[in-house]
Assembly symmetry: C2
Homo-oligomer: 439 residues x 2
Amino acid sequence: MISYRNLRVAILGAGSVGSQVADQILRHGDELSSRIGAGLDLVGVAVRDIDAPRDTEIPRELLTTDAESLVRGADVVIELMGGLEPARTLVLSALNSGADVITANKAMLATHGPELFDAAAQVGAQLYYEAAVAGAIPIIRPLRDSLAGDRVTRILGIVNGTTNFILDRMDTVGESLEEALATATALGYAEADPTADIEGYDAAQKAAILASLAFHTRVPLDAVHREGITSVSRDQVVAARKAGYVVKLLAICDRIEGENGGVSARVHPALVPLEHPLAAVHGANNAVFVEAEAAGPLMFYGAGAGGIQTASAVLGDVVSAARRHVVGGPGVAESQHANLPVLPISAVTTRYQITLEVADRAGVLAAIAGVFQDHGVSVETLAQTVIPAGEGHAGDQPAATLVIGTHEASEADLAATVTSLTGNAVVHSVTSVLRVEGL
Amino acid sequence: MISYRNLRVAILGAGSVGSQVADQILRHGDELSSRIGAGLDLVGVAVRDIDAPRDTEIPRELLTTDAESLVRGADVVIELMGGLEPARTLVLSALNSGADVITANKAMLATHGPELFDAAAQVGAQLYYEAAVAGAIPIIRPLRDSLAGDRVTRILGIVNGTTNFILDRMDTVGESLEEALATATALGYAEADPTADIEGYDAAQKAAILASLAFHTRVPLDAVHREGITSVSRDQVVAARKAGYVVKLLAICDRIEGENGGVSARVHPALVPLEHPLAAVHGANNAVFVEAEAAGPLMFYGAGAGGIQTASAVLGDVVSAARRHVVGGPGVAESQHANLPVLPISAVTTRYQITLEVADRAGVLAAIAGVFQDHGVSVETLAQTVIPAGEGHAGDQPAATLVIGTHEASEADLAATVTSLTGNAVVHSVTSVLRVEGL
């Protein structure tokens, strides 16, 4: 029944994902072969150190430190080493030799995506990357294929498990950011250097990948506005819940209509209404909420990371790539036909919640309202709480906390409003400025 | 840039989905063409009555009552008429002529799937059906492609919007089944004859499709155990919530391991723990919860029905099919290589919650416990509430309500237990027997 020659598969990297992928191919090769219509030969696994400990047992004769030689002659190359180099050079070398490449490397895709897609297109090779965003959750294929006949208007994604775990601990256990980060590190959810996660770099890479795919437009990484979670305080999280929100780090991709329209991608902490499906995404889980013109709202939920989970996404791509070798055909191609303008965050409009400490005396509310009005920002809700004497920032003067919810406003107008508020005599401090998403 | 000849597309049926698909092709043809690499010519829409009112405007010259002629000469045939005949004959005719077919017809797939897939395989044509299950939610493609390198062990699906709407009303508004059905009918969520929905026929068709796909095994419709929601009472829903559950009509596909293993598909109302993601699926929405060996739990959520939503899924398939015409290639094929035994519901094990009205006197608990023990069903929880005098079934005799939660037990053992309980002198009545899923 199987008439096609066996396919030669090479794996680059044997970390938590690579070792699981090797293990699955070695153990479930027969099952994979019957889905493909050809056998899979794992011809080698490139590693830096042959003797390093691994999560699964890989026969010693498959291990090699010579990645460049391994890549030559493979039909399918699975790049799981991460980082920009030598990953980029090896992937280019594989594509140029006509091999299909499967990668989970979001940094490489977000940084060198266009170069890699161009190289693939030139020789008719394919670049698959389901595992690069949201681990095991199928999101690349649904965006690329299932929604190919629809128009995606918006993506709200919880795409970084570490930060979701930390924010969830702050919300549900009441830990501070530092405590929650320590817990995440102790449980293995955060790396020794957590910068890429908590500063939003990881999420920004995924936002660039998702926006490029969903909007058929190349969205470069440096066009993604990025704010991490380091400024999020326990007070903000507690106040958010009281007001019916939860704080999430979101990757947001927007299609902005109109004359100066285009697309925008950004990453920042945001208030999400408790009744929104994303609010129920706990722990280190990921979820991607997609709005499309015809399909309406969709959500894809699951484990965002983990070696074996990510291996599932990689192996799905292996089967797709291998089937294409056997039966021939279109495979996947980058879609950039829309080529829309990529807009800066100043072009984005959203709602805001601003918390101020103000002097508690006559005329203050009117003065504050005037500041918003001057900048064209429309106030939707306003709640004032008197601060007990002596507890305010300005010592013994009567003070109050003001929580203001705005209608949709532009980032530019909001920023100008906050600057004015900061300089205003009746404002003791601007305690918190958070965007509200998902309303 | 577009060098391929235009593709000829025929639509069969112009109901709520068909008219939206026609509208999208007519209005967004350019955008679709640039994703495909070739133009799409809508060559005709087959209808029963040219003059019937439609949701969208279709140029009169495209309408025809001669479906058989329309199918001949089309590259892509979109079957949206529903029902078994003439849909089956027309689809066979299209496939045999080499056209790719896209269908949302779950009844036809669940009943005639093997015949249609065989016909497609014979001529190398493709049969796409993303829209047949869970409307706009991408579920077919993720199961077929994204999880192709994984092993699906279980699917729990809310795949019928009408029954989810009714059960949700009973839970959140406190309506009776009859009242909730009337509300669903008034709001257009239920058809004039709601039998297919409330008796679980629609969900059973989808269960057969999902199980066949996920387990690479043909699961015939008549192997799907089916119970609808007509026996679900408001009392059961109220008691469920008190106990931390919500009642959902689930389509459940199980891979059962072991010597007598195989696969099983069933549809019945079930208690779902409130903390399970499926418990938060409200209104007429759909969600499919998938467990895979490597990926772990995944959930796909969105609108399950609606003309324009379903049209999104159809158009995703149109783009896939059309791209295959342009670039050639593997497309999709039925996967039935696993060919596992399809097991009856008696082979399934799950947990149960049984509510009894019993005599309230010494020795009753021991007698009941003995019945469970005799049939090898292990009791996990037991809660007894005394029924006020005169309110029980047996008149003035002291009576109590007993709610028993079991450990995993087989359907066969549970059925025998219930029969014994019914015949037992201390049992006034078996008030409720519900399976518990998602624990």
